[in-house]
């Protein structure tokens, strides 16, 4: 979508956009700036670094726990996303297309789950995971991510499934498709934008989570990046690891940005245009 500005409205519009963009991006730029300042300049309160240095990036990747944490983050977030979206696709399809008892119960039940404050379940979960030997493991984090992201994914996908005309599936069945062929060849491609959109949301949740990751892990086995960053130490115990934290933050933001840019074109709505008259 392209927004055109003209005259006074245009001026105000441009000003507004500028404010919003500045507000949103300023902290990001500041973090990038911090990550590039050499250690002695960190406290100089200047927006732009006087000299550029990659020393913090070197520190981050030389820190033994960071690469391990990065692997944990990628693995855990990807698996949680894959599982969550797969389950959500089937759940949303069932909610939209099938008539079964307790359908609304399930639909609103999932929403209720999402309203639990995570902090209220962390304590019990800690005890439970220790007993079940899930503490400090990948599944130990994947499971809570699944339960907290499923509602969002189901609700998003339900909205997308609702948009799909029933007739398409019926037409596919008459054209000779089995129910599963009709689903795979006709319905799934049409909800692809919804799948991508909710997958990104789920991935971001799992990727950014600090609470569960901090409470349910203790070693590099399952510790994810946000927690690893918190465990950074400076080069001496009297120094704040500000630079390293900034550098690590930049590093973990990159995959998310890449993901969004990559799928941006797929997220566009209106893929169903032309299916039916209207």
């Amino acid at each position: 979508m392209r927004i055109r500005f003209a005259g006074m409205d245009g001026f105000l519009g441009a000003l507004g956009s500028l404010l919003v963009v500045t507000y949103a991006l300023l902290p990001v730029i500041w973090i990038i700036s911090l990550s590039l300042k050499p250690g002695r300049e960190l406290g100089n309160a200047r927006f732009f670094p006087d000299t550029l240095s990659l020393e913090h990036y070197r520190t981050v990747f030389n820190d033994p726990q960071f690469p391990a944490a990065l692997l944990n983050s990628v693995g855990i977030a990807s698996i949680a996303t894959g599982l969550s979206i797969t389950i959500a696709i089937f759940a949303a399809y069932a909610i939209v297309r099938l008539d079964f008892r307790g359908k609304h119960w399930i639909f609103y039940g999932t929403l209720a789950v999402a309203m639990f404050p995570p902090i209220s379940v962390v304590g019990p979960l800690f005890e439970l995971w220790r007993t079940l030997r899930l503490f400090d493991t990948w599944p130990g984090l994947i499971l809570p991510y699944l339960s907290f992201t499923l509602p969002l994914a189901i609700w998003t996908l339900t909205a997308f499934f609702r948009e799909i005309p029933w007739d398409l599936e019926r037409a596919a069945r008459v054209d000779g498709a089995t129910p599963s062929q009709a689903f795979r060849l006709v319905i799934l491609p049409l909800v692809a934008p919804g799948i991508v959109a909710s997958a990104i949301l789920v991935f971001i949740f799992a990727w950014n989570d600090f609470l569960f990751a901090a409470s349910l892990t203790s070693t590099d086995r399952a510790r994810t990046v946000p927690v690893a960053i918190a465990f950074f130490t400076g080069s001496s115990q009297f120094e704040l690891p500000t630079g390293s934290i900034a550098a690590a933050s930049v590093v973990v933001t990159i995959p998310i940005i890449a993901l969004v840019l990559m799928f941006q074109r797929r997220i566009i709505a209106g893929l169903t245009a032309g299916a039916v008259k209207g």
Binding site: R173, V174, D175, G176, A275, V276
Partner: protein, 382 residues
């Protein structure tokens, strides 16, 4: 090629409402069969039961003698054109048309050959690489037809395929569909709510109302000998005029005055009964213009619809001169309620305007008489 037999087919929805009741008829091999009726009459449900998208509650549908009630839609070898067209928006026109063939696992060059053949028939060649969203309504309609005929199905089903098109395109596609069906000779069941479509296209037409088949016949039979008042009113445009009337010894007493009936009418059996008399707009005429004219009556024009080839007048018959008889009918025959309006067709070159008083007459041999309670046609069912 297939003959479809409906053997006392009924459909009840989960809510308990009967959508179709005891449909019992046969669609002959190669026939263009129309299901027509107002919305909610069960015509689309019947179609969906043929193709397998709706379960059959009672009864049996047989194709060439084989029961198909439990057959999965994909195994019925039927093709359907949906009212919404239901084109797959993520596929090009070529992919849309070849979809059923791919599912049937045909060889690639065979698929290409058949798609090209269908595209040629429907003049879709220049559109094959476009997506449905880039097509006009008429083009989408053609693609939907193409996807249906490419499989060479044994039965071809169309659910109001023209209702989303504008009037001109509708007439054009109507002709194309009729020509295509004739060319392919595939048994075709066509659902519509438009009686004109039904009359023009159908070899035979079934008229449905509230899930029940009212009458099945050729368009001519339905027009000339409607079984009941509903069929009479549904077929024909503008609708037949219905008048409260009473049968006398030698004729029928209409609101405009008495009308002697030809000896072919079974008058003695109906004597002194209240009936509903039906006269089509085209069976009225001006006095002296037809040899088959009946009694003349005066009327006032209350509106004029000039359509170029036709002129329709909405007229109010002047109050009858004949004194009304004292009968306890709701509407006294021989008089008429203030609102009685007749629609009559007259030659288009007449210069008439609102408020004019004219004299009209009608062809008494074309009068239909219906039972005032049941709506049954007396003349057809004697």
């Amino acid at each position: 090629m297939a003959e479809i037999v409906f053997d006392h087919v009924s459909k009840r929805f989960a809510g308990g409402a009967w959508a179709v009741r005891k449909a019992n008829f046969t669609v002959k091999d190669g026939e263009f069969f129309i299901l027509v009726g107002p919305s909610g009459c069960g015509k689309s449900t019947l179609l969906n039961m043929i193709v397998g998208l709706e379960d059959i509650t009672e009864g049996e549908i047989r194709v060439d003698g084989n029961r198909i009630n439990e057959l999965d839609p994909k195994d019925r070898n039927m093709a359907m054109v949906f009212q919404s067209y239901a084109l797959y928006p993520h596929m090009t026109v070529r992919e849309n048309i070849s979809f059923p063939l791919k599912l049937a696992k045909l060889a690639r060059d065979e698929i290409k050959r058949r798609v090209d053949e269908v595209a040629a028939i429907l003049q879709l060649d220049p559109l094959l690489d476009r997506k449905p969203s880039d097509l006009s309504g008429g083009q989408r309609q053609r693609v939907a037809m193409g996807r249906a005929i490419v499989r060479r199905p044994q039965v071809f089903l169309l659910d109001e395929p023209l209702s989303n098109l504008d009037a001109r395109l509708r007439v054009q596609m109507r002709t194309e569909i009729a020509a295509l069906q004739e060319r392919l000779g595939i048994t075709t069941v066509y659902v519509t709510h438009d009686q004109t479509e039904a009359m023009v296209l159908g070899d035979r037409v079934a008229i449905l109302r509230s899930g029940e088949v009212q009458q099945i016949g050729t368009p001519k039979e339905l027009y000339e000998t409607p079984r009941n008042e509903f069929v009479a009113g549904f077929i024909g445009s503008p609708s037949m005029n219905f008048l409260n009337a009473e049968i006398g010894d030698t004729g029928v007493l209409l609101p405009m005055g008495p009308c002697p009936l030809p000896p072919s009418f079974p008058l003695e059996r109906l004597s002194n009964r209240y009936v509903v008399a039906g006269i089509r707009p085209e069976h009225f005429c001006l006095p002296g213009t037809s040899r088959k004219a009946g009694p003349v009556f005066p009327a006032e024009i209350i509106s004029v619809e000039w359509l170029g080839a036709d002129l329709y007048l909405h007229v109010q018959p002047a109050p009858s001169l004949r004194p009304s008889r004292d009968k306890s009918a709701v509407v006294e025959p021989g008089t008429h309620p203030a609102g009685l309006v007749l629609i009559v067709r007259v030659p288009p070159d007449l210069r008439l305007k609102r408020g004019d008083r004219i004299e009209l007459t009608y062809d008494a041999t074309k009068i239909q008489l219906f039972d005032a309670d049941t709506g049954e046609n007396f003349l057809r069912n004697h």
